[in-house]
């Protein structure tokens, strides 16, 4: 996904000049664009399209995925430790893991002036924790030290279609009515949590950080959505990442 363009654009020259005269922690940073939403809502396709568009404009682009926490996965796989893995403990372990594995990586890229596209980010972790019964404010606060996105592209679709899409790819045993109903309830809770996070961001009360949010209707024409995304990101790119909401 990395751009092959090595020539210094005007922006990059400015960045280099700025870096030369300011200490690291004051350097102007790149741009963090985050795609959020339920499974199968088209986040990856949106970011692929956006990456190509940005690279054509000469920007260095890095795409990262919000990988599940290794600490939590290891605990869940072990019968003895699984009993201790309550939602709160899992949330704290995952937040520590994200701080170590994702926060540091994104910070480095942003300090280098790159555009970072994140296929899921903190909202996904928060929505999952809220769906498991944790408080949104407490859970959101855990991720406050991660670099704040300049913009969140919220892919909003209805819960029913998301459940159908997810179950269609699973074996027949998983598609049973009981599993489908339980999963459906979980997805509805996820959607409510995503909606709450988007609503807060729109009202300037973004959690864990203030950020711009653009809502994309998953059912809409992909060409229209791609245009909405480009129109939202263009001014941020032209502002060189300095048009941050936070």
């Amino acid at each position: 996904m990395a751009s092959s363009s090595k020539s210094l654009s005007g922006y990059d020259r400015d960045m280099a000049a700025d870096r030369a005269r300011t200490p690291d922690h004051l350097s102007p940073r790149g741009l963090l664009v985050v795609a959020e939403g339920l499974d199968g809502s088209g986040k990856s396709a949106t970011l692929d399209g956006l990456a190509r568009w940005l690279e054509r404009r000469g920007r260095e682009v890095r795409t990262i995925a919000w990988e599940p926490s290794e600490l939590v996965a290891r605990a869940a796989a072990d019968l003895r430790s699984r009993t201790a893995l309550t939602p709160r403990v899992a949330a704290l372990l995952a937040a520590a893991d994200a701080q170590h594995r994702i926060g540091a990586r994104v910070s480095r890229r942003l300090t280098a002036g790159d555009v970072v596209l994140a296929d899921r980010y903190a909202w996904t972790a928060i929505a999952r924790e809220v769906a498991r019964g944790l408080d949104l404010d407490w859970s959101g606060d855990l991720h406050r030290s991660l670099p704040a996105p300049d913009i969140v592209l919220y892919h909003r679709g209805d819960a029913g279609s998301a459940v159908e899409r997810a179950l269609a790819t699973r074996p027949a045993s998983v598609r049973s009515a009981a599993v489908g109903a339980a999963y459906g309830t979980f997805v509805e809770r996820l959607l409510a949590a995503f909606d709450a996070l988007a609503e807060r961001a729109r009202n300037g009360l973004g959690m864990p950080w203030p950020t711009r949010v653009v809502e994309l209707d998953v059912g809409a024409d992909p060409v229209v959505n791609a245009r909405i995304v480009r129109d939202a990101v263009r001014p941020l790119v032209e502002a060189g990442g300095s048009g941050r909401a936070a």
Binding site: V89, L93, A95, H100, W138
Partner: protein
């Protein structure tokens, strides 16, 4: 965690907290006693002595210590071993360790009416993070899930005494605060860092209602300050339990 107050009225010099009648602020029938203090304050020794004293007195006791959870103790060890010093990551791991022990050990024991003795609680991770410039209000919110102790005894030892107790043994990198760049010399860094922690505990005494106790004396002297004060609190909260009548040891 501004609500995490101990029994009111803690003072230096042996009077540890005024007794609290009835169930503690955590709302459970047991009694929750925390011993805090900087490194080399004698904390682990006194937790052990107090546990013995209470058991001999006929109390049911559960002891729990920092970084002993099933899920977080390993990752904490690995992070230290790899010298990862991000204060936010570290405090989140300690919070996971506490959350597990609160859910699996502390709350069930309090619910069962036992005395829970904690060798350090939320305050040590908070102190270490706060001295590394982590926002104190965020730390309060992070640990808001932690039930407030009935009394938090802080073993008060100045950095010079801690250093003398450390002797010539090199302190751990984390305990010496080497990541803060206070000094390249581990022992000097240890003294400067412990001084900062000591200051933090002193400053936060009214906020968290700590009951500091002068712990510069010999273990016998300090023990003679802690035990009667704890007995008064337990008698008031759980009722008097005549022990075997023979001093332990």
């Amino acid at each position: 965690m501004t609500t995490a107050a101990t029994a009111p009225g803690g003072q230096v010099g042996g009077q540890v907290g005024a007794p609290v009648a009835g169930p503690g602020r955590h709302g459970l029938p047991g009694v929750f006693i925390v011993l805090e203090g900087t490194d080399r304050s004698g904390r682990s020794t006194h937790v052990r002595l107090l546990e013995q004293h209470l058991r001999y007195g006929g109390r049911g006791v559960t002891r729990t210590s920092l970084a002993t959870s099933i899920l977080a103790a390993g990752p904490i060890r690995v992070a230290k071993h790899e010298r990862r010093m991000d204060p936010v990551e570290t405090v989140l791991l300690y919070a996971a360790d506490l959350a597990e022990r609160i859910e699996q050990v502390i709350v069930p024991s309090l619910r069962a009416g036992l005395v829970v003795l904690a060798d350090r609680y939320v305050y040590t991770p908070m102190a270490r993070a706060a001295t590394r410039a982590v926002d104190p209000d965020w730390l309060d919110r992070l640990f808001s899930f932690a039930p407030p102790p009935d009394v938090t005894i802080v073993l008060d030892v100045d950095a010079a005494t801690a250093l003398a107790r450390q002797g010539r043994h090199a302190p751990g990198r984390y305990e010496a605060g080497m990541d803060l760049g206070l000094s390249k010399d581990a022992l000097k860094s240890f003294r400067l860092f412990q001084d900062r922690l000591h200051e933090w505990f002193e400053r936060q005494t009214p906020r968290y209602n700590f009951s500091p106790i002068d712990a510069r004396g010999t273990p016998e002297v300090v023990e003679a300050l802690i035990e009667p004060a704890v007995d008064v609190i337990l008698d008031a909260m759980l009722g008097h339990r005549p022990g075997p009548g023979v001093a332990r040891r």
